[in-house]
């Protein structure tokens, strides 16, 4: 992490060694220009992020149901919503399930993404172009369309996946229900999410890999390092910042995921035993028209994701220090 350190140091202002000068109007003005210039951005962020967040926090301390929604006026009840949620066993089960789900999704995304990116560096130009275009096509497909296509492919009555697996002799997949149990429902969702997340991860890691100097790899090889050692000791440290960012982003996306499970599993098949946090929030907040509780759940989710990310980022940075 030494490179990062120097970059950080270069970014901070050099220590002031000159003697104190008199304050003049001109100087005050000069000093305030940067603040003036940044003010619109601060204002915009406060308006589009800060204010909604404030409203969300306020909503989470209110009893706000359908009755209050129509009158646009909630009823303040302090932290009662939080108490209800933290005493709800469904919340804890859902949290555990979502953490496992997130770990599985992020791990699969990152491992497959890294492998595909490494593969990309070894392909001939036109095969690489072919693979990259494939990835971009996946990336450009809207989630809702993708869910529909997956749903068709894995349809109980005449899904193409069932047909192909049966024809290949893998087993009898005729009338196989891919969404029969909570585990299979969430596994299908994982497959869809990882598939959809790969292009961004692969292309970004591939870009990161192009920063690895050839000489270093060759030097390591001529010193007798094997492929795995080259990756671990040369490639990985250089692309680590990229992996760090991608993993954090993936955690944030996968922990709060809603569209894929909601559409793929389908509202009429969603029950507490297959809830993910995003779904739990939707069921408690929207379906039951208890918007205050929904707001409280989303605040809790925000805190949990922040916690997960901080723990992870700290670990990764520490790991770098040792090296």
């Amino acid at each position: 992490m030494t490179t990062d350190r120097t970059a950080l140091a270069a970014g901070t202002a050099p220590p002031r060694t000159r003697r104190r000068r008199r304050l003049t109007a001109r100087r005050i003005f000069a000093a305030s220009v940067p603040y003036g210039l940044i003010l619109p951005v601060v204002g915009a962020i406060a308006a589009i992020l800060g204010y909604p967040l404030y409203r969300l926090v306020r909503l989470s301390t209110q009893h706000y149901g359908l009755f209050e929604l129509i009158r646009h006026k909630g009823q303040s009840i302090g932290l009662h919503n939080y108490g209800l949620i933290l005493h709800d066993p469904v919340f804890w089960h859902t949290l555990l399930r979502t953490v496992v789900f997130t770990v599985a999704n992020v791990a699969l995304t990152m491992v497959l993404g890294t492998l595909l990116a490494l593969l990309l560096t070894r392909l001939s130009t036109w095969v690489r172009l072919l693979l990259t275009s494939g990835l971009v096509l996946v990336w450009s497909m809207p989630v809702v369309v993708a869910v529909q296509v997956w749903d068709w492919m894995t349809n109980f009555e005449n899904g193409i996946v069932n047909y192909v697996l049966t024809q290949l002799g893998v087993g009898d997949y005729f009338h196989h229900d891919w969404y029969a149990t909570a585990f299979s429902q969430l596994s299908m969702t994982t497959a869809l999410i990882v598939w959809g997340a790969l292009p961004f991860v692969v292309i970004t890691i591939y870009a990161g890999l192009s920063q690895v100097p050839h000489e270093l790899v060759e030097a390591a090889r001529s010193d007798g390092a094997r492929a795995w050692q080259v990756f671990r000791d040369v490639t990985f440290p250089i692309v680590k910042p990229v992996l760090l960012i991608l993993t954090s982003l993936s955690i944030i996306w996968d922990f709060g995921v809603f569209t894929q499970p909601y559409l793929l599993i389908g509202q009429a098949k969603i029950v507490p035993s297959n809830y993910l946090m995003g779904i739990y929030l939707f069921e408690e907040g929207y379906l039951k028209s208890d918007f205050g509780r929904g707001a409280a759940i989303s605040i809790l989710m925000l805190l949990i994701v922040a916690l997960l990310s901080v723990v992870y980022v700290r670990r990764m940075v520490k790991l770098g220090d040792v090296r």
Binding site: G43, A47, L66, F156, G266, Q267
Partner: protein, 411 residues
């Protein structure tokens, strides 16, 4: 100094625009039109009836646009909630009869003058009750629908079935015959989705059971009473004998009529309008009333239905009510009847098979939180547990019953 002034002015302008656009969206209401939310059933089944009502409406109100937007059952309430919060709710909304109470209790709808609607004196009792709260009318009955068996006459004949079954036992025997004559893999003599709770509960009611009852002011689940359990057991037996549908899927995924249209089913249980969408088998398709386990009687079917309501925030309430009048008058209701629906008033009732099926029907518990039971998929989950054998019938039923009671007894 000038620069700061410029910056300050720029910020003011930016914030001003933001504020202006925020206030502009909340007052976006045009008097030149009304927005109507109907369910997709109307779009696929009777778009011409909708168009005719709108035409009639525009004769009386020239220049008023009617923007009909079709919604789907699973998510129309969330969309509606969002519009209530945003202040841009539709002027007319179709509500399922099981969905009305929660919204009427919250004051989401405008009270309507009952007598101004045609045939309001003879509205179907069950439907009229679902649109009444505290003595006021908030929902105008739109139509009711009973559930029927839609079947392939050619396949029944080929299997040597001379007349439609008069009892559940006969229907089960027929299913075996049909299966023997149609050996194609995955073929269903009677297509029923495993989680189709409308069919499942019909068996429960047929055996004298029920879903929940009030006792001393509290709801208690009654799915684990001996009669309800007998009904659930009969459902499992019939399903195992007759349906090759997934035990863990719903009646919309896939649509039963799509399976039927592909030649993969000899019959299916569902709303009467299922006969609309049978593809190339139109000429070989007929319907009968689902038979009870008691010979000669119909099995009680779910009496579904819809009401039309005018949301309270609408700024065109009288125009909205006028459109509802045109859409529920005798002409429109007769047209709906011709499409296989049950009209909203007793004086319009005919002797069609639908209307005969409606003679024995069941309805969900009339509780404010019933809609949460439906949305929570408690009954669907129970049926899947029973059919897959994950739980015994008794275990699944008593756990579902407890769940239902706790949802219905919420404050």
């Amino acid at each position: 100094m000038r620069l700061r002034v410029v910056v300050a002015a720029a910020i003011t302008v930016v914030l001003g625009i933001a504020a202006a656009s925020a206030s502009a969206t909340s007052s976006r209401h045009q008097a030149s039109g009304i927005t109507v939310w109907l369910q997709v059933d109307a779009q696929s089944g009777w778009p011409d009836v909708v168009a005719a009502a709108t035409q009639q409406f525009q004769k009386d109100h020239p220049g008023v646009n009617v923007n009909v937007q079709y919604q789907s059952w699973p998510d129309h309430l969330q969309k509606f909630d969002a519009t209530l919060a945003g202040g841009n709710s539709p002027d007319v909304i179709e509500m399922g009869n099981t969905e009305m109470t929660k919204y009427m209790a919250a004051g989401a709808f405008a009270a309507l003058q009952k007598s101004s609607f045609e045939n309001s004196g003879t509205w179907l009792k069950g439907l009229a009750a679902s649109g009444t709260f505290g003595g006021k009318t908030y929902g105008v009955p739109y139509y009711a629908g009973s559930r029927l068996v839609t079947y392939r006459t050619d396949l029944f004949k080929k299997a040597g079935i001379a007349k439609v079954p008069a009892s559940l036992a006969e229907y089960t025997a027929d299913a075996r015959k049909l299966l023997a004559h149609n050996t194609k893999k995955g073929f269903s003599p009677v297509y029923i989705a495993g989680e189709d709770w409308y069919v499942g509960m019909s068996f429960v009611f047929d055996y004298g059971g029920s879903i929940a009852k009030t006792y001393k002011g509290k709801w208690i689940g009654t799915l684990d009473t001996p009669r309800s359990l007998a009904g659930l057991a009969a459902f499992k037996r019939f399903f195992d004998a007759a349906s090759r549908a997934s035990k863990t899927t719903l009646e919309t995924r896939p649509n039963p009529y799509d399976v039927y249209a592909q030649g993969q089913a000899a019959s299916m249980v569902g709303p009467g309008w299922f006969s609309c969408c049978v593809g190339k088998f139109k000429a070989q398709t007929a319907q009968f009333v689902m038979p009870s386990h008691t010979k000669g009687q119909p099995m009680p079917g779910f009496l579904g239905g819809s009401d039309l309501a005018v949301p309270a925030p609408s700024s065109n309430k009288s125009l909205a009510a006028d459109w509802v009048k045109d859409f529920t008058d005798t002409t429109s209701e007769k047209a709906l009847q011709a499409k296989g629906n049950i009209p909203n008033a007793t004086n319009l009732l005919g002797t069609s098979i639908n209307e005969r099926a409606a003679a024995r029907s069941w309805f969900v518990p009339t509780a404010k939180h019933w809609v949460d039971v439906e949305n929570g998929n408690i009954l669907r989950n129970m049926l899947a547990q029973i059919l897959t054998g994950k739980l015994t019938i008794k275990q699944a039923a008593s756990s579902a019953g407890d769940n239902i009671a706790s949802v219905l007894n919420q404050a």
